[in-house]
């Protein structure tokens, strides 16, 4: 299955950048979760968990890179229904944490199936639009694609995990865009969204949801409550300055003024401890990974490969941009993690697997 010559087409630069980001993430997780016993600092349990997830993630990456993506795409419908099964299972029997039912308990690990939804969705959408000569120019095709998205999206939203559910939308848009979605249609969707927004505000949103948006716009309204995280995120980032407070020297993250620092707000802690320079380095790495991946799409042998990379990267980029904006208090707080860096095993494994697919597409650009 794995021809020797393919080895020479592995995009080592992309792989290195991805692993570098993971390494930086591990360092930041260490900084936010270490425990001090008798004056000696030791890694918290989260670092260990994340390292295990990294090992599993690298295995997933290797598998996803070696198995021909076209073969995977052929089985995408099977994978899709498997995913739906897991999501339903989670809703029925999943374990509950923080008031949401997201996980399947596997003993040592808690598996979060929703994290794998983006890959499966990318595969099935790439498959659907790739097999179809017309691309995404036909509204009917778009509708079918939309249904593919809607089912897992609703299941995930039901957990409830609106953040993760929302990340499925850019996957769809990414694939559709590359598949030739008419710009006029895209504009129409945007226009409808703008027109619907005030109506939705009036009728569809519940009061607590409105207050959440209001406190995001003006966090000082409720600095101890809903606005707290937004305010603290800005303080955390702003107080980092040019060079930062130093590794394990941040005050906002270390003293828990910023909640879930190792998870949703890991980028805030990076900005606090490593400063603007650290932010530029990591943002640069992410941008490199994204642009480099899109190069893989450009080089892809077939439309399937293009759409696959497009879907994965659209979801990935959306997550990165949203989380980074949230970490500086420029987006409402939602449970969207920073892929590759945030603490979270399922997320890391799924993301590494996704990059395995991207490497896979680039690697096989010359194969038949």
């Amino acid at each position: 299955m794995f021809e020797r010559r393919l080895y020479f087409h592995i995009d080592w630069a992309l792989l290195a950048a991805v692993l570098l980001i993971v390494a930086i993430g591990l360092v930041m997780i260490y900084s936010t979760t270490y425990v001090t016993v008798g004056g000696v600092s030791r890694a918290g349990p989260q670092v260990k968990t994340q390292v295990y997830a990294l090992v599993l993630g690298l295995m997933a990456l290797a598998i996803c890179m070696m198995v021909d993506y076209r073969m995977l795409a052929e089985h995408s419908l099977l994978l899709y229904f498997g995913l739906l099964g897991l999501l339903i299972y989670v809703l029925v029997k999943g374990s509950t944490q923080f008031g949401a039912q997201r996980w399947i308990s596997l003993g040592a690990f808690n598996l979060q199936p929703s994290e794998f939804a983006r890959i499966v969705l990318s595969l099935i959408l790439a498959m659907y639009f790739g097999e179809n000569r017309r691309g995404a120019r036909n509204t009917g095709d778009l509708l079918v694609g939309g249904i593919f998205v809607a089912v897992p999206l609703l299941l995930i939203a039901k957990q409830p995990d609106l953040g993760t559910a929302a990340t499925l939308v850019p996957v769809f848009l990414g694939v559709a865009y590359l598949a030739g979605l008419r710009m006029r249609l895209l504009g129409a969707i945007a226009l409808i969204a703008v027109l619907v927004a005030p109506v939705a505000w009036q009728f569809a949103l519940k009061d607590y949801q409105k207050s959440r948006i209001q406190t995001f716009i003006d966090p000082q309204q409720d600095p101890r409550g809903a606005g707290y995280q937004t305010i603290q995120a800005r303080i955390t980032v702003g107080s980092g300055g040019l060079t930062g407070k130093g590794f394990m020297e941040g005050t906002q993250g270390q003293y828990k003024f910023l909640p879930v620092a190792h998870n949703d707000f890991i980028f805030s802690v990076l900005a606090e401890e490593q400063g603007f320079l650290g932010v530029l380095v990591v943002l640069g790495l992410y941008l490199f990974v994204v642009l480099r991946s899109l190069e893989a799409a450009r080089l892809a042998k077939d439309r399937l490969g293009v759409y696959l990379v497009g879907g994965i990267i659209a979801g990935f980029t959306f997550q990165v941009v949203y989380n980074v904006a949230m970490s500086v208090g420029l987006a409402p707080v939602k449970g969207i993690t920073l892929p590759l860096m945030s603490y979270g095993g399922s997320s890391l494994i799924a993301t590494l697997a996704a990059f395995g697919l991207i490497l896979n597409v680039r690697m096989r650009q010359f194969t038949n």
Binding site: S239, L242, Q252, Y255, F276, R303, V321
Partner: protein, 639 residues
Amino acid sequence: MGNTGMMPDDRRNLTLRLSVLQGIIAAVFGVLAVGFWVFQIVQYEEFKDRADNNHLRRLALRAPRGVVLDRHGEVLISNRVTFNIALVREQVRDLDRTLRILSDATGVDEQEFRDRITRFSREPAYRPVVLIPNASDELRIAVSARALELPGVIAEEVPTRRYPTSALAAHIFGYVTEVREEQLARPEFTGIGPGAIVGQAGVEQAYNTLLMGVEGRREVVVNSIGREIEVLGTEKPIEGRSLQLTIDADVQRATEEMFQHLGYNGAAVILEPQSGEVLSLVSLPAYNPNLFATGIDRASWSALNTDTLRPLSNRALQGRYSPGSTFKIVVAVAALEEGVSTPERQIFCPGSATFFGRSFRCHKAGGHGSLDLRRALEQSCNVYFYTLGNMLGIDRIHKWADALGMADRTGIDLPNEVQSIMPSTAWKLRTRGERWYPGETISVAIGQGQVSTTPLSMAVMMMTLANGGTRHTPHLLKAIDEGRGFEPVPVPAPKSAVQMKASTMKAVGDGLWMAVHSGTARRAMLPGRDISGKTGTAQVISLGAAQAAKGKMDVRHHGWFVFFAPRDNPEIAGVIFAEHAGGSGFSLPIAKHAIETYFAKKEGLPLPVIEKPVTAPVVIADVAPATAPVAPPRSGGNP
């Protein structure tokens, strides 16, 4: 899968779309980077401050107030360590519940806690609000027993004022309390926050700024739930300046003890005539300033305020009383200095005399016969001084009363001194809008009528007489320790100075010596000490009114004794004022005991002790009340 291969057309289109996507994404990342630049570089200072405010706590450490010593180094006021039970609001989740439990455990009214919390509402939530100042051990144990139910309730160690001598000299020391809300706006309290301990009376108030010291601070790092993680630095509080007072604790004690032994309230002031230093200043009844230091409870506070004996009032400088016969000294000095009479002038006392058609009596029914100034002072003859007063007129009496310090505030370094009332024609026109009738002067000449003086100004009068005319400013502060040991403070400038004639001083001095050794003040005589002095009686109320008021109020007369000693080169001068003593009799043993203590201490002799309890008051009449028509009803006490 051949059908998924790409046409060149598709490829071109795709390349374009990918390029657009790459451009958009790069732009979005650029915007994010600019966002971080704005927060981290442009607004860095602001966010740095806010982050510091999050985790840095600056806690004030109360500075011990300065120690106060007497002139010989005896500690009069010091500090001790007590515990306040306080509340850190940011650590309290359910305030109502916490206060209920705390009230339950301590028996203190919940509303009292709420009042305190309201007063501190503008302070940062991490600053402890004192709920129970100077909690007893029992309360502390009661609270710590329920510590688990009371998160955020702490016991903090604070230095607290300690007055080892209890109520001794309370009116000199004054007392301290937490600064009152309305005081915070005053200029002398700038830089002081709520909860600070400040002097509210006496030396504690007068020298508050010196005594307060400088608050220390402790800087700690806390986490988001307010737990201390690390102490960054401690700046120790700087103790207030130590003060040395002019007071002699033994003389002070002797004076107060004799008052208490005899069972009288009143006032006493003993001055050093060459400088105005206050050796003793008594006002009784007093209070225990330790009560205030530990946060006086409402009941005690209202008891002190409603007590008809007015223990919070410093009689020595806030009480005004009719000077009675002691005022004859002023008239004598005025007559001699103004040249209207001579010491040798003989005046016949038949027991009464008629001025302006009214009869004024002497206290000796049969009259003193013919006597000169010396004997008139010795016997306290009213007729002699009616005559001198009539010759002088009110304005010349006023002039000399002023020169001797009885018409002005003395300027002592204690707060809220009141001014003696010394009538004159101008004074009456100003205050009553009426002209002065010469007949009114007759009563004033024997210290009745409208003249009304504070005990302190009487002491100043005797001091000025003793030193020949220099009206020193009485003062309590002798030296300050600024960290280099006690350094004397400059003596305040005299309020005024006149040069009295030697003959005046000799004649008046003789008369006063004779009063103690062979006249009305014999009970003050101390062999070898040459005490010179003069008794006086202050009517509380006129005789007629006294009958009417009998049983409703204490109508017994106040007794005065003013003195200096020894006769030549006096070392001390002062006044004893025994409230409702019935007459001047009981002021005499108090003076005698105080003076004896002074000399004994000076010469290293054992201090005199009060021996046998005095049984029945022996009234030595020196002055019969003046005739009814001129003497208006008055209350001698300060309202």
